[in-house]
Amino acid sequence: MRLKLTAVLLGLTMAGCAGRQVLPAPNEQRVQAEASLRAAEGAGAARVPEAALHLEFARQQIADAERLWVEGEQEAAELRFRQAEADAELAHALARAVPLERESRRTAAQAESLRRGQP
């Protein structure tokens, strides 16, 4: 899925200043956003405060997007879905990064103290 997105973006890049976007189907956007949201939830983003923030952003923006969709603002909705997906991806990444960072710092400190403790 990511590869596909990348390919699309690359296509956009080639297009230049006045290029017309080739957008995926709005349905697909929603599906991707929701999939990312699930994935982020599954990675325990709710438990990590920084991740939980973006998770909430994602949820809100999905809700907004669905409302916009219902209201007929398809383009806006699809942009909102994309934002939501981006937040969900970030939440997912943070859900892994923050704990790892914390743990690695703790372990480093441990190792350091252990190293200092041993002459």
Partner: protein
């Protein structure tokens, strides 16, 4: 590649800026640019090149939209997405870095822990060995303690035995001492008894001695009396004997005198005279000896035999005196006269006259009886005299010999 990407982006933006008219970019776009700037140059970004590339693409998309529609909702939305993608790249890079650091730190920690574990294991082992050693030592000490306790017990037993022994010996000594005391008391008693008995005995003995002594004294007195009587008797006897002797002697003398007087008649060359010094027999020297000789002439023997017989009639002592004339030296005459007198004595003795009776003197020329100037006189001087003293009267002589005592019968 990212750097180039950024530069490319900048180039695109610049071109776009030249190409199209622009209102100031929305904050979202500025944020997105900043975010991409940061992540593309960060170590986290280097971890995730693909994510950074995706973030770049998103930013480019936002830039193009900005170029196209400036500060439109779409630009802002794409900028928001680009921002999030840069942040996502950063977060993923952070995660990867953290994971690797974690792994390294984990490894280091594990190493350190392993080392510590090894060290603590070693310490544990050392402690265990020390403990084992301490245990061994403790056991040893315990053993030694037991041994020493055993020894102490043995020694105690020994000491007890010794004490018992000593006590027993003391007891025995005490008994012996008491026994000795008893014996001493006994012996004292016996000694006292003995002393008493001795004293009694002594008293008895003394009494006996006393009585004996008295008896003895008595006896002695009796004896003494008897002795005195005996003595008296003896003395009387002696006196009687003496009397008898005297009488006998007188008789003997009488007989001798008679014999000798008769001798004169029988023997021609023997003159018998009674003088103050006693009865004197004068024998002519001429008859007896040759001149200057000491040996008797054979003829003299006859005469001397008769003299001897006459003398044998009594046992009164006599003195034989040799005399010479004055011819020759005094010393020679003295010697000659003595030797002649000796010869006469020898002869008389050989004839049975008792040796004890006879005394000899050599008077040399000191007692002449005649005149030495005439041959007759000299012949008369050459003589041997036998003197028989009367009744114990001393025979006169110059030699000072002790008076012959009357021999006790």
């Amino acid at each position: 590649m990212l750097k180039r990407g950024w530069k490319a982006l900048a180039g695109v933006t610049a071109l776009a800026a030249v190409g199209c008219a622009h209102t100031p970019p929305p904050q979202e776009l500025l944020d997105a640019r900043a975010a991409y700037q940061e992540v593309s140059t960060s170590p986290q970004g280097r971890e995730r090149p693909r994510d950074v590339a995706a973030a770049r693409d998103a930013l480019l998309e936002a830039e193009r939209e900005y170029d196209r529609s400036q500060d439109s909702p779409r630009t802002r939305s794409l900028s928001y997405v680009a921002l999030r993608k840069s942040e996502t790249a950063g977060a993923r890079g952070t995660a990867d870095l953290a994971a690797r650091r974690q792994a390294e730190a984990q490894a280091t920690l594990q190493q350190a822990q392993a080392r510590q574990w090894q060290r603590s294991q070693a310490e544990l082992e050392a402690a265990r060995q020390q403990l084992a050693q301490a245990e061994r030592e403790r056991l040893q000490a315990l053993q030694q303690q037991q041994q020493s306790r055993q020894h102490a017990v043995t020694r105690q037993q020994e000491a007890e035995r010794v004490r018992m022994d000593a006590r027993r010996r003391q007891h025995e000594a005490e008994q012996l001492r008491r026994l000795a005391q008893q014996q001493e008391a006994e012996s004292l008693r016996l000694a006292e008894e003995t002393t008493r008995l001795q004293e009694e005995e002594q008293r008895r003995v003394r009494a006996e001695t006393e009585s004996q002594r008295l008896a003895q004294e008595n006896h002695e007195l009796l004896q003494r009396t008897a002795e005195l009587e005996a003595e008296q008797e003896a003395r009387r006897q002696v006196e009687r004997e003496l009397e008898r002797e005297r009488q006998a002697r007188l008789d003997a003398e009488q007989r001798a005198t008679e014999a000798l007087t008769q001798l004169e008649s029988t023997a021609r060359d023997v003159k018998v005279r009674e003088e103050s010094r006693g009865l004197v027999l004068t024998l002519s020297g001429q008859v007896l000896f040759a001149s200057n000789a000491v040996d008797l002439l054979p003829a003299a023997r006859e005469q001397l035999t008769e003299v001897a017989n006459a003398l044998k009639a009594s046992d009164s002592p006599m003195v034989i005196e040799g005399h010479t004339d004055s011819m020759g030296s005094d010393a020679m005459n003295e010697a000659l006269s003595y030797r002649r007198a000796e010869r006469v004595r020898e002869f008389l003795i050989s004839q049975g006259v008792s040796r004890d009776r006879v005394e000899v003197r050599g008077l040399g020329e000191y007692r002449p009886v005649a005149n030495n100037s005439t041959p007759e006189g000299r012949a008369n001087n050459r003589r041997v005299e036998i003197i028989l003293p009367r009744g114990g009267a001393e025979a006169t002589g110059g030699s000072g010999a002790p008076s012959p005592t009357t021999p006790r019968r």
